[in-house]
């Protein structure tokens, strides 16, 4: 049984000692290490290595900045009905600074952050949720009298590595959707000289964060990433290729409206706009809310929230293809294509008809077939 934060993970105490004091048995601990090894894709043979690293792990210092965001990522990652060891791990490592979860407020908290940053300079892990607004000198997000950009740059300068958690910290999310009035950008657009890991999603799954922290504690570095800077162990495959409804896609069985028979039978949501074929995410495997369910499992198409600029590129959320702009009424690709094809066919028909008409007239006037001429006779002769 996991106890709530009755006491903190103190300096000098190893992680295993702390777990024991919180009532976690050796067996539960080893199960957790095995699970993490599987999630990270490094194989169950790596379980002892993770356990060993945890036995020796001292409390890492983590600074958690919340910038221009909705706090949904904190909710998703930290708040669960029945905390798992992974949740506990996140709970205990995120103690130095997180302005939503901290009991204190105001100048005292800012002071604590400064103290933690200078005490662990170059060693602490920086977690960032929320984007950085750049327009109007960044006045759209101001914390403790300073802009998000200043706060981020200051915290990043002493960080060992940065976890950009959620779509906002990744690339800006909804506030960066066109026309992006606040000039919101992700962490990677502001900080260029630190290793940044993007834990994509709106919000991301807590397990990905846990596993990343486990990887960091075990190997002392961030896991391998894809072209978007997302950890490959989680974002290495498309939702479409791991989907529990994939068999219905291959069979040609599709939900056409949300209350049809296909929807009741759990068929593929491809035709109602599922972005699973364009989205790299571990949702079908890790799932949400203590592995209860996930959007497609619950009958809703994927919105593609782990992909950059999904508010612009994945919309309409309930349509297969993006709208094609430049028209007063937003039109679908097929409407435009069909209109052009019919237009071309009509043009061809008109051109053909005009050709026939002019040819008949021309031939009548210039190209009469003679009944009999001397030339004709010589040819036939």
């Amino acid at each position: 049984m996991i106890m709530p934060s009755a006491h903190q993970w103190v300096e000098g105490e190893t992680l295993v000692q702390h777990f024991e004091s919180r009532g976690i048995s050796r067996r539960e601990f080893m199960e957790f290490c095995g699970e993490m090894a599987v999630i990270l894709g490094i194989g169950s043979a790596a379980t002892p290595r993770i356990a060993e690293a945890f036995e020796a792990a001292k409390r890492p210092s983590v600074i958690w900045l919340q910038l221009q965001e909705c706090t949904g990522c904190v909710e998703s990652v930290l708040r669960t009905e029945s905390p798992t060891i992974g949740d506990l791990l996140l709970d205990v490592i995120s103690l130095d600074y997180n302005h939503t979860l901290m009991a204190g407020a105001g100048a005292a908290v800012e002071k604590a952050k400064q103290a933690a940053m200078s005490a662990n300079k170059g060693k602490y892990l920086l977690v960032v949720t929320g984007s950085v607004p750049l327009k109007e000198d960044g006045m759209y997000t101001v914390i403790g009298g300073r802009t998000a950009k200043t706060v981020l740059e200051e915290a990043a300068s002493g960080a060992a590595a940065i976890l950009a958690l959620g779509a906002c910290a990744h690339w800006g999310s909804v506030q960066a959707a066109r026309p992006n009035p606040t000039g919101a950008v992700g962490v990677r657009d502001v900080i260029k000289n630190k290793p940044i890991l993007n834990i994509a999603g709106c919000p991301p799954i807590g397990d990905v964060v846990t596993a990343t922290v486990v990887h960091y504690l075990t190997f002392g570095r961030l896991p391998a990433v894809d072209g978007e800077g997302r950890p490959l162990f989680a974002y290495g495959k498309r939702i479409h290729d791991q989907c529990s409804r994939r068999a219905h896609f291959d069979a040609g069985q599709f939900v056409e409206t949300f209350d049809d028979e296909g929807a009741r039978k759990g068929w593929c949501l491809y035709e109602v706009g599922c972005k699973g074929p364009a989205t790299f995410s571990p949702c079908p495997i890790f799932m949400w809310n203590a592995r209860t369910s996930w959007p497609i499992g619950a009958g809703h198409p994927c919105l593609g929230c782990t992909e950059p600029h999904f508010w612009d590129t994945m919309t309409p959320f309930y349509g297969r293809l993006p709208d094609v702009g430049g028209f007063p009424v937003e039109e679908r690709a097929d409407t435009i294509g069909l209109a052009l094809a019919i237009g071309a066919a009509a043009g061809i028909a008109a051109h053909g008809a005009a050709t026939v008409f002019t040819q008949i007239r021309r031939r009548r006037s210039t190209n009469q077939v003679p009944e009999s001429t001397s030339e004709e006779e010589s040819h036939n002769g």
Partner: protein, 273 residues
Amino acid sequence: MTTRVGALGGARGMLGRVQRVFARERGNFTWVYLWSAPIRAMHWIAAACILSLILTGFYIGRPYFATSGEASAHFLMGRVRFVHFAAAAVLVMTGIVRAYWLMVGNQFERLPALFPVTGKNISNLVKTAGSYLTFRPDKQPNFVGHNPMQQWSYTAVYVMAVVTVVTGFTLYGQSAPGSVIFRAFSWLPPLLGGLQGIRVIHHLMTWAFIIFIEMHVYFAIRSDYVERAGVVSSIITGGRYISTDHSYEDYDIAKVPSHPWPTGEHRTPGKGA
């Protein structure tokens, strides 16, 4: 013949009608060989591929058949996608052969034939377009091979094909991240608004091909009717008959030696000219 018709008495009017039905173009004609066998084969293989790619592509884009019952009993989308991918692979093969033939083909098949950029070509392009728009085939400059309008439109089709194939393979590669195809095209999605951007371009290209096919078939058949050019047969047999009474913008009849028919070999005009 006149006497025989005379013997038939009042059939002269009837013969006139028959002659109109079986009207002949008069003059001197010669047969020229234009399109090498590989070009013709690739044309028809590519046509079959594109047709099946359009049909299967529209199914993949918006499945127009549904199956019922257990999913395990069906593999409709799976098969359709297989046909789509296989046809795409064959289409790439025809593209490779065509690209090789851009280097080794005759003057009508080589790379410069895709880019008629000289002043004379541009003026002929304008004249050709003008003759189409004003319905005056008699004002159309004569070409043995493709006229500049055709040349540019086929160049455009090759560009369309490359765009469609590249976007298609980008989408195809997504199922196997880290594969050669995935890596080869991974630079593309960020430039074009992600995979959905790629998808909509691929989809719009399908419509572009449909519009091209409409116009291509129309102009080919129209040319056979109006210009008596025999171009439809030229992509089957490789050659067509041209009037030796005209001069041609891209072919000097006087310089190409003729061969007796039917025993002589048909000379590829491009190599002799």
